[in-house]
């Protein structure tokens, strides 16, 4: 250890409101090759979708917006969102949220963060904010790549909404943006479940798998008609409601119910994560 000149720094006594910790968190998420590769897969899907529809025309009448793609390229984005909804997007959010606390515990960095002290509540606020931002970016990437590919291969112009009426291109883009926000909110709620599960274990992969299982379970329960009393309480039940944004006028009832459900899930599971982490013995 060289005899470095002493750096005379007064220990600051002032609290700083700063986004530094959040930026550091985002840098860790988006600086990781694994996560970038994951986003790459999400972005590759609309490309594959657009190209395959382009190469095999004349198969109209498909469900999930695919049939509408040839009419307006914007539908590539809607179709990609609908098709990545059951697995790809939840998987990405599961990976990030499952890793959030368990990953730090697994590396041992959690004890150093808490000794700084980062503060347990603040850590959970930062971690969850980063998950929400990731969910938003992941959804927007799918929408954006879908839009670009769609417009490039099929062109834009006025679009025919699900209700049969015509809407301008700008209106369509606006509806796509709202759909992305709606889905990002839904995935953020899933991320809160992931944050909670992540506080239960030191195994990030285990946490990720558990979040995905919860997600799949909700989807399965949502298909069992004998359990229809349960359906409105399932987070995933409301996910496909984003299609209502493609009606004229927009049908907002399901959207509102979906948003409230997402908000409740997010609140309950964030609090559960807080209750768990704030009393947990950090022995990793």
């Amino acid at each position: 250890m060289s005899a470095a000149e002493l750096l005379v720094v007064e220990r600051p006594s002032r609290l700083r409101a700063s986004t530094r910790f959040l930026r550091s968190e985002l840098k860790i998420i988006f600086g990781r090759r694994r996560n970038i590769a994951g986003l790459g897969v999400l972005a590759a899907f609309p490309v594959i979708l657009a190209v395959s529809v382009r190469l095999s025309p004349g198969q109209g009448g498909d469900p999930n917006f695919i049939g509408s793609i040839t009419g307006n390229g914007l539908f590539v984005a809607f179709a990609a969102l609908a098709l990545e909804l059951p697995l790809f997007l939840p998987l990405a959010v599961s990976a990030i949220s499952g890793d959030s606390v368990a990953g730090e515990a697994n590396l041992g960095t959690l004890r150093y963060l808490l000794a700084v002290p980062a503060g347990r509540t603040r850590l959970l606020v930062i971690k969850y904010t980063a998950i929400v931002i990731f969910a938003l970016i992941a959804t927007l990437i799918v929408a954006l790549v879908g839009t670009i590919m769609g417009l490039a291969l099929f062109g834009g112009g006025d679009m025919t909404l699900l209700s049969g009426t015509q809407a301008s291109m700008a209106d369509g883009v606006w509806r796509l943006f709202l759909s992305s926000l709606y889905l990002a909110a839904q995935f953020s709620a899933l991320g809160a479940i992931g944050l909670f599960i992540s506080t239960l274990t030191e195994q990030p992969i285990g946490a990720t798998i558990a979040v995905l299982l919860v997600n799949v379970l909700m989807f399965i329960l949502g298909t069992i008609s004998q359990l229809d009393w349960l359906h409105p309480w399932l987070l995933t039940y409301w996910w496909t409601a984003f299609g209502d944004l493609l009606r004229d006028p927009m049908a907002t009832e399901s959207i509102q119910r979906g948003l409230i459900t997402a908000l409740v899930y997010a609140g309950v599971f964030w609090l559960a994560a807080w209750a768990r982490l704030s009393t947990k013995d950090i022995s990793s």
Binding site: L7, P12, R20, I28, R111, Y112, P117, I282
Partner: protein, 315 residues
């Protein structure tokens, strides 16, 4: 540096206990680390040192007992006090794919009080101080064990600290590195910080500690200034002489015990006999004294006398 001139010592615990399911890891210990001390927190592996340190830093909550850190009750005041405490807990832990510098940057960013404008400067100064500046932009995963340990020490140097809690800071370091860390700790202490340094290697800390606390199977079996602790254990005198039998007789008359004479010298246990009485009596008995010494017990001797056992892993 605002010094720890608080009325109470930087670390005080009373009845501090931690029970994990069946096992009592820490059993009602009363630590007291005085201001300005370099406190050697000693004990074999598994004796409860790290559990105690985790409780001091608010990472785990005690089953019973209280902790006051820099005069403030833990863990309630952890938020305000911990930033005055630099710590190294149970080995280094960092993000493997970030550089050493980026890892320190992350910890600095997590500190609500740190000034982003001085961040880079403080990080580089900390890296320089532990001899890592040249490897600052290397990924952590490429660091050797010794470099990782140095980086962990650097985290505690990002801010001026009143108290440093260093758990096994020399683990994995080569002899040169160990020496450097010893110097660093001495430097920090001379700048006014109180240091608690845990170790399972007695000889390593013996040279820098002013105070010692000895853990054994979850209990704090001894604590105090190193000199007192040494004095409290059995002291041995050694008389070099060419007439060991005569010397042994004089020592026996004085009341020393466990006298052992060999060619050229006699050793005996001092007991309650005043050291200054020995020489005049030897001279009066015309024993030629070639050398006389009161042998300082090593920490190892102290430990064995406290626990009746060697310094091995306790279960």
């Amino acid at each position: 540096m605002t010094s720890a001139l608080a009325d109470s010592p930087p670390i005080v615990s009373s009845g501090l206990t931690k029970r994990f399911r069946r096992q009592i890891a820490v059993d009602s210990i009363d630590l007291e680390v005085p201001a300005g001390a370099v406190y050697g927190f000693l004990g074999p592996n598994g004796s409860g040192k790290t559990t105690t340190i985790r409780m001091l830093l608010g990472l785990i909550s005690p089953t019973a007992g209280e902790i006051s850190l820099l005069g403030v009750q833990m863990p309630t005041a952890a938020r305000d006090v911990l930033r005055r405490v630099g710590s190294l807990v149970e080995g280094p832990a960092f993000h493997p794919y970030l550089s050493g510098r980026a890892n320190l940057g992350r910890l600095d960013a997590a500190d609500r009080y740190s000034d982003p404008r001085t961040s880079r400067k403080r990080i580089d100064a900390a890296l320089d101080r532990v001899g890592l500046l040249a490897a600052a932009s290397k990924r952590y995963r490429a660091y050797s064990l010794g470099m990782r340990q140095r980086l962990a020490i650097a985290t505690s140097l990002l801010m001026p600290r009143d108290l440093l809690v260093l758990d096994e800071p020399t683990n994995g370091l080569d002899p040169q590195g160990t020496r450097e860390v010893r110097h660093l700790i001495s430097d920090l202490a001379s700048e006014g910080a109180t240091v608690l340094v845990s170790s399972h290697l007695l000889a390593e800390v013996e040279q820098i500690c002013t105070h010692v606390g000895v853990m054994y199977e979850g209990r704090l079996v001894a604590q105090g200034p190193l000199s007192e602790l040494r004095a409290s254990t059995v002291q041995t005198v050694r008389v070099d002489t060419d007439r060991p039998e005569d010397a042994a007789r004089v020592l026996a008359e004085l009341g020393l015990s466990e006298i052992a004479s060999s060619t050229g010298y006699v050793t005996a246990t001092l007991g309650d006999v005043a050291v200054e009485k020995i020489m005049p009596n030897l001279v009066n008995a015309c024993v030629p004294v070639l050398g006389f010494a009161v042998l300082q017990p090593s920490l190892e001797d102290v430990f064995v006398s406290l626990t009746g056992e060697g310094f091995d892993v306790s279960g």
